[in-house]
């Protein structure tokens, strides 16, 4: 027991500075962040970081921006716990720690040349945005790109300006929906579950990959619709949320049977995990 190769501490965060903070909804903010040492984060679309706030601990947060957008990275953060509450009080110029990036990214090689069907619900748009931005910046790498997004209500939609831009873009076919519109709200968009957006689509199964990210209840319903379109599990990608405490496959909180979501995922091909208990 003398040749074990340990480098610098796994658990030591590096410092980051907040450049801007933007309200996405009443509960979610977007933090634009840069490393204090000037280095790029070095992530790929689909990866996450462990955000570290001294006194509050750590929380796993998906990177919401593409590595093609240099100089900074972005984190979409819902106010859902003590750490994220503390984070929501932070402003431009404040600093916090980050470890990572961690986890398996989207398999860009396998997505290359494919029609992409990018489906997200609620907060799932934040991690998917890293891939959507990548597609915007590398348009020649993919065939047709369709973006479907569902939120609970118009006020719960993330990245409203970008959604509008994607709807207007010739590069994307973009369909948006909300589950319901609270009384008194004025909304002219589509109302209904995100599953209703799939049947009208024309999908070429042998040349399409669907990427699905959303709350746990959304996966089964959306995947069932995709299978009706004869899209096999080897052509469906999911990104799973788990309570990663370490990000490096040690703490055990994110296991799915023999897999560690923080290392083997969070991005999985459906055929890797659909047979595993508790995965979806």
């Amino acid at each position: 027991m003398s040749d074990t190769p340990c480098q610098r501490s796994l658990y030591q965060p590096f410092d980051c500075e907040i450049i801007t903070v933007t309200d996405l909804t009443s509960a979610e903010k977007l933090f634009r962040v840069r490393r204090m040492d000037g280095l790029p984060l070095g992530h790929l679309p689909g990866q996450f970081v462990q955000v570290s706030l001294l006194g509050w601990g750590e929380a796993p947060i998906s990177v919401a921006s593409s590595p093609t957008r240099e100089g900074a990275f972005e984190l979409g953060v819902r106010n859902a716990g003590s750490l994220t509450s503390a984070m929501h009080l932070m402003q431009a110029g404040d600093t916090f720690g980050v470890r990572g990036p961690f986890g398996r990214s989207f398999d860009l090689q396998r997505l290359h040349g494919q029609d992409l069907l990018l489906i997200s619900g609620g907060c799932g748009l934040a991690p998917l945005r890293s891939l959507i931005q990548y597609c915007e910046d590398r348009p020649d790498e993919f065939d047709q790109i369709t973006v479907l997004y569902g939120a609970k209500s118009p006020g719960d939609r993330l990245f409203k300006d970008e959604l509008a831009a994607w709807e207007a873009s010739a590069r994307f076919a973009c369909s948006l929906t909300v589950d319901s519109v609270p009384g008194g709200d004025c909304f002219s968009g589509s109302v209904g579950l995100i599953t209703a957006l799939i049947p009208p689509l024309t999908i070429v199964p042998e040349n399409t990959v669907a990427v699905v990210i959303g709350p746990p209840a959304m996966y089964r319903a959306v995947i069932a619709e995709l299978k009706k379109k004869e899209l096999g599990p080897e052509r469906i990608v999911v990104s799973l949320e788990r309570q990663m405490r370490c990000g490096v496959g040690k703490c055990g909180h994110c296991t799915i049977e023999h897999l560690y979501c923080c290392q083997d995922g969070p991005v999985f091909w459906l055929d890797e995990i659909e047979h595993l208990r508790g995965a979806l």
Binding site: M1, T4, L10, Y11, Q243
Partner: protein
């Protein structure tokens, strides 16, 4: 093979204290045997495995990740005296070998290896089990092994570090003592191994109905004793302890038997019932770890069965699984 009398062993251990932080089985005044220091109690090598988690020597219940002062700059960690630890039974050594692999795989866990990499681990075996029963020799998995042959210790060094520690001694074991060692090596496997392997096959073959886990879950009182005693349980939580001028980030053992173990901020809980959590505890050792690591991660140390107040330690559950489902 070196032979040491008990007095010679005492002298040997005393001689180590200058260079090493010596940890070994001691007897407390209440009759408990723990891994500790001779300052806290007399040596108590005989009696078999220590009930508490032996791998806590390198993966403590509460361990500092780092300490940050007011300006957020982490304080440096002082270098520590290397550990010499004696008292791992052969089954404990198998557990240690397993978690060595676990913590080294992929991202190497520097907190674990901080003291583990410079430690010397000595196993004990021979007729030093409960009531003089035989602990079959480990034959490896440690730096050196102490085999109690009834009246003296046979010392078998394996690693270069182990050989260096006993270099001053000459091979002195008489042929009959070596014969006793060789006979002990031939000890047939524990019958519980058969149950464990068969239970693993049943789980990996999805031959266990959910109703079984509901029954086991109903019997679990979530005391977490199984996880806290298990030498291969490595799950931990991370938390910050705030005081006036500093923050200590630490990690602490966690238990998959607790409702909050996997619960996410969104409220989603993949282990949301006692049944799911009980299944996870057993399935992880007998099915998930064999899938990932190629071996069952229970080495039949018996601690979870010994501490469980409701009789659902892994050996008991494995036996019940095999009895009911083949």
């Amino acid at each position: 093979m070196i032979k040491l009398t008990s007095d010679q062993l005492d002298q040997f251990i005393t001689s180590l204290a200058e260079m090493w932080e010596v940890r070994l089985p001691i007897l407390l005044s209440d009759g408990t045997r723990i891994i500790g220091s001779l300052k806290d109690g007399p040596l108590a090598l005989l009696g078999g495995a220590i009930l508490s988690k032996p791998t806590a020597a390198f993966f403590p219940q509460h361990g500092t990740v780092f300490i940050a002062t007011e300006d957020g700059v982490p304080e440096s960690t002082d270098s520590l005296q290397p550990i010499f630890i004696l008292g791992f039974t052969p089954r404990d050594l198998a557990c240690l070998r397993f978690i060595d692999r676990f913590f080294a795989d992929g991202f190497c866990d520097d907190l674990y290896f901080h003291q583990r990499k410079s430690a010397v681990v000595a196993g004990i075996s021979g007729y030093c089990g409960p009531y003089g029963s035989l602990l079959a020799p480990a034959g490896g998995d440690c730096d050196l092994e102490f085999f109690w042959e009834g009246s003296s210790w046979l010392v078998i060094p394996y690693s270069s570090a182990g050989k260096a520690l006993v270099a001053e001694f000459t091979d002195s074991a008489p042929p009959e003592a070596e014969n006793r060692y060789r006979q002990a090596v031939m000890t047939p496997p524990d019958e519980n191994e058969r149950f464990l392997r068969r239970a693993s096959e049943l789980l990996r073959g999805n031959s266990v109905p959910d109703s079984f886990w509901v029954e086991i879950g109903d019997r679990c009182i979530a005391c977490t004793g199984c996880n806290l005693a298990c030498p291969t349980c490595t799950c931990f939580g991370v938390q910050d302890w705030r005081s006036a001028k500093r923050v200590e980030r630490s990690r602490m053992w966690d238990s998959c038997q607790l409702d909050g173990f996997m619960r996410e901020a969104s409220g989603h809980n993949p282990l949301g019932s006692e049944a799911e959590r009980s299944r996870r505890r057993i399935h992880h050792k007998l099915a998930a770890d064999p899938e990932k690591w190629g071996e069952i991660s229970c080495f039949l140390c018996g601690r979870c069965d010994a501490v469980c107040p409701t009789g659902i330690g892994i050996i008991a559950v494995a036996r019940e699984l095999v009895t009911r489902f083949g």
